[in-house]
């Protein structure tokens, strides 16, 4: 157990996986000598060699395609794409092949691979470096989509993803990489995929979120507490398969749901959560489900990024609307 930020915790997870299993390889642009654009793979090539921590050309279809070939031929690849906006050239591989190889081969081929992708705002470089398009992957059958919000969960979920027999798109919130530190268990620490977590118990309103926005949900809950409002916080942690029961249970308990994400609003995970709540908890609701999201616009540059990404104020305002019912 030692105190780590999320980048360090992810590095620790990769180190643990590489040491434990010869089949695990890492590939991506600058992941080796440089240690990755966010230094998540720092030092791993020195430790495990250039045949297991592989620097690739900047060619995302080539990277993810190679990972799929490695996976069907017996390895456990972990590919890194530098930013979510850079992943689109690989979407053909992920949607058309990675997610379908098991089904179309009648279970004879499997793709136990992980595609790690930093995502969301934070560095203020707009568009390709700041996107939050996780719904594309969550919409795709055959792909698990995991988003950690804390260092310990990041390690535990990544080790679970590497061990998972199905392909996982693993989205790492850029704003959290170095924002918080916490105790992270040493060695083989795993957190199950598909289970949301109640981060804070509450009784008046449920704040459902994931990734970097979870911290803003926490700040919102603090602000609401100052006014005597008890907010419950749910960290989804996995977007596919999404933990319906955790969401429905909390909605039935509080009767009010605010779901906060930083992606575009239309057809988002927020929309999915709203649908799940009305299917499973409609008669417990005291107010409409509130969606707090980014806008259906292009993610902007630094100076206006804070207007795009929903902060605690918008979450608090949505909670108040729900409370006023």
């Amino acid at each position: 157990m030692s105190e780590m930020n999320m980048a360090q915790a992810l590095n620790d997870a990769l180190d643990t996986a590489l040491a434990a299993d010869d089949r695990v390889v890492i590939l991506g642009e600058d992941v080796g000598r440089t240690g990755g654009v966010f230094r998540v793979t720092d030092g791993l090539q020195e430790r495990y060699g250039a045949t297991r921590v592989i620097d690739t050309p900047v060619a995302e279809s080539g990277i993810v395609g190679a990972a799929l070939g490695m996976a069907v031929a017996g390895l456990r690849p972990v590919a890194e794409i530098q930013f979510l906006g850079f992943a689109y050239p690989a979407v053909d591989q992920i949607i058309s092949h990675v997610g379908r190889i098991r089904n179309r081969s009648n279970h004879r081929f499997t793709a136990p691979l992980v595609v790690r992708i930093p995502f969301g705002g934070g560095i203020g470089a707009a568009e390709h470096h700041s996107e939050s398009s996780e719904a594309i992957f969550a919409h795709t059958p055959g792909i698990k989509v995991v988003v950690p919000a804390t260092p310990a969960d990041a390690k535990g979920l990544l080790l679970s993803a590497i061990a998972d027999p199905d392909p996982v798109v693993f989205l790492e919130p850029i704003r959290v990489y170095r924002a918080i530190k916490e105790e992270v268990p040493a060695g083989q620490h795993t957190v199950p995929i598909g289970e949301a977590k109640v981060v804070r118990e509450g009784s008046d309103v449920s704040l459902v979120s994931y990734g970097a926005v979870l911290r803003d949900a926490g700040r919102a809950a603090d602000a609401l507490a100052d006014d005597g409002v008890s907010a419950e916080i749910i960290d989804l942690r996995t977007l596919s398969p999404l933990d319906h029961q955790a969401v429905i249970h909390s909605a039935r308990k509080t009767g009010r749901v605010v779901v906060a994400v930083e992606s575009h609003r239309t057809a988002s995970i927020a929309s999915e959560v709203a649908a799940i709540v009305q299917e499973g908890a409609l008669y417990s609701l005291l107010a409409p489900v509130e969606r707090v999201t980014g806008w259906d616009t292009v993610v902007p540059l630094k100076r206006t990024e804070h207007h795009y990404i929903p902060g605690p104020d918008r979450i608090v305002a949505a909670a108040r609307r729900a409370l006023e019912g």
Partner: protein, 357 residues
């Protein structure tokens, strides 16, 4: 301001000059290929031909649902490479992959059943004509979006290299694939990593309905790109199984020795259209006929006669294959159709599709 619009020439492709095959190279009779190997290649070409002719007939009886893409006329490529591979080698194909799957030894009955979408198909009726695969035979799948599988083959090659197994991955694709980005990504990856991967372009002169030369910057879609990736340009007569086998043995051994990838362009011709829906009317008069005269099986038959094989031996092989194709057809037709329950299986490792709890 003058606004002169760009107007591409309206072109009836069937009025172009036909692209005619090169004559048979009789000198290939003297290639150092044992006669029993040649007899196996004759048998295999007969299998691929008769299997696909039957598949076509089954289409016409509306027993094959959806679409399918035949490689009638192109059998020599899958045959030459299929026979040159080791049983544990990997191969990857496209939606036009019946021949490549059978050439690895996948059994005809379950493959035919797969085309018919039956539960006794080699993939339980889930893959269909365009996604044939057979894990037992190293056939790593057919990929129906062009380009992607070249990158995937690299991964299999990397795995073989890392595990030190001396396995080779051979990936087949059409001329059209040479114009998509993944082709170029894959060749670059394979060369920088010196992977044991052989890229085989089956240039059948048409990208679906369009002559490939009209949409490609160079004359030979694959071979002319080879030097850009530090590879030797290799052109081979794709209608001569001996020529293909000879080249295949060379490039596969190069890969197996750890000396890196190769790119082979096999020039061939599909006798039919792109898919079931395509009568192939865009081809100039005389072109199809000329290529039918260069039919890889007829010319191979003639070679074997020149080499002293009795006609009766070849007839017996063809008859034996015909009987087995009949059996495969009966096996396929007798298979049950998947039901609604099958729709919900095999999305995830637990065998199910429940991605919500």
């Amino acid at each position: 301001m003058s606004t002169e619009a760009f107007e591409p020439e309206l072109m009836d492709y069937s009025r172009r000059q036909p692209r005619l095959p090169e004559p048979v190279i009789e000198g290939n009779d003297a290639l150092d290929i044992p006669l029993d190997e040649r007899m196996e290649m004759y048998r295999l070409q007969q299998e691929l031909r008769q299997f696909e002719k039957r598949a076509y007939d089954l289409f016409m009886q509306n027993l094959v649902k959806g679409t399918s893409h035949l490689s009638l006329g192109m059998e020599a490529v899958a045959t030459g490479f299929g026979r040159a591979l080791r049983p544990d080698d990997y191969s990857f194909a496209t939606y036009r992959g019946h021949a490549h799957t059978l050439a690895r030894g996948a059994p005809m009955g379950p493959v035919m059943a797969e085309l018919l979408g039956r539960s006794n198909g080699i993939l339980g009726g889930k893959g269909g004509s365009m996604h044939l695969a057979s894990v037992e035979h190293g056939m790593m799948g057919s990929y129906a979006i062009i380009g992607a599988h070249l990158c995937i083959a690299n991964g299999a090659g990397w795995s073989a290299q890392l595990r030190g197994t001396e396995q080779v991955a051979v990936v087949f694709f059409g001329d059209g694939t040479t114009n998509i980005g993944a082709f170029h990504e894959a060749l670059n990856f394979a060369k920088i990593w010196e992977l044991p991967v052989v890229f085989v372009c089956e240039n059948n002169l048409y990208m679906e309905y369009t002559p490939i030369d009209l949409v490609t910057a160079v004359e030979h879609p694959a071979a002319d790109r080879a030097t850009a990736y530090g590879l030797e340009p290799i052109l081979v007569d794709g209608n001569d199984a001996d020529a293909v086998y000879d080249v295949a043995q060379g490039v596969i051994e190069t890969a197996r020795r750890g000396e890196g990838p190769s790119l082979v362009e096999a020039v061939t011709y599909r006798h039919g259209g792109h898919s079931r829906a395509d009568p192939g009317k865009y081809r100039p008069p005389g072109e199809v006929e000329a290529w039918l005269d260069r039919d890889p099986i007829i010319t191979y038959h003639q070679r074997l006669l020149r080499l002293g094989v009795p006609e009766g031996d070849l007839t017996r092989i063809a008859q034996d294959v015909a009987r087995r194709v009949d059996e495969a057809t009966e096996f396929a037709k007798a298979g049950p159709v998947p039901d609604e329950g099958d729709l919900m299986t095999d999305m995830w490792a637990d065998g199910g599709s429940a991605w919500r709890n």
